[in-house]
Symmetry: C2
Subunit: 192 residues, 2 copies
């Protein structure tokens, strides 16, 4: 039995990413749950920002942003950056998060986030209440002590301990236990 | 200390959604990790499909698709639908998943997935190796026994038990324990 919910904007699980935008001397942080990869060549990611948000004009002006994946211990800081506006406060100062110079762009990354991406805007698309920016990922960073030698991505996901957001339900979660490997778990259905 | 990883397409955690497309008489399933909400009014979601994939032409022809969120118990079926091609096999038959009539569109939803969205394509954007389709969510469904009366989204996330995918690292995971509520956890930083 299924119950129809009409056209609600429910979607989960998603990352809760900290997006940095604006001038390198006065950068702003915005929490973005409406985010997702959109291409592998070139590696590209979309972030969608409500038209009312302060960060919209900052990204439009500078044509770049960084995506910073918080560890689960940063769930309060992540929530804070989604509640208050950069129009009225300095969120780096408020959260004690540290801006760190990027390699390829002027917008800083966040030191305390274990995984970071530097992005240049290559598309902008207005969709109703939101504007989607597609950014090409020019450079990515990982905390050196969270690297893995065991997998091709060089990321130890348990050390990164990324925050998981259940949008609409409005809960922050940790990632849970491993079920299986991709491109392998499904092979059991081929051979059965 | 941070280590640069160049322009890799690493991103996590993401949903691993089962997207259905094609004719209602012969629908196909594709596993999509590059997916994300892009607007709330109208509720809209993007899926990005590699140009080589069979499903690309199906979505282009029919201008609609459904997004189906698998529970963690479906990780093998989810993986299978990302490994094999609908050009050569019927994935509904192979996985024993059941197509169920949608309300507003012709493309079916998947009965065994606890949460489903019916989408009509409103934008298409080519980005390098991939094509992004933005679908307006016309209708959503939840398994009635997985509804909650406690939150505004009417979804009991622990009953839905959504599959979490760590892209590039290529691991399927469960969601983990709750850390806090959104729009609340950050208030401690305002008052400190």
């Amino acid at each position: 039995m299924k119950t129809p919910l009409k056209n609600k904007d429910i979607f989960f699980p998603v990352p809760a990413a900290l997006v940095v935008c604006g001038e390198s001397m006065n950068p702003n942080i915005i929490t973005v749950a409406w985010i997702g990869m959109v291409s592998s060549t070139p590696p590209s990611i979309q972030i969608s920002i409500n038209k009312e948000r302060h960060s919209l004009q900052l990204i439009r002006s500078h044509k770049e942003f960084t995506v910073n994946i918080p560890s689960s211990s940063l769930f309060r800081e992540t929530d804070y950056c989604g509640i208050v506006s950069g129009r009225t406060t300095n969120k780096f100062a408020d959260t004690k998060l540290t801006p760190l110079n990027s390699i390829a762009i002027k917008t800083p990354i966040i030191k305390e986030c274990p995984f970071n991406m530097e992005c240049k805007v290559i598309h902008e698309l207005e969709i109703g209440s939101h504007v989607m920016f597609v950014g090409e990922i020019i450079e990515a960073h990982i905390d050196t002590d969270k690297m893995s030698t065991e997998n091709r991505a060089q990321v130890d996901i348990d050390k990164v301990d990324p925050l998981v957001y259940c949008a609409t339900i409005r809960e922050y979660r940790k990632i849970g236990r491993k079920l299986g490997d991709a491109y392998q778990s499904g092979l059991t259905l081929i051979n059965r």
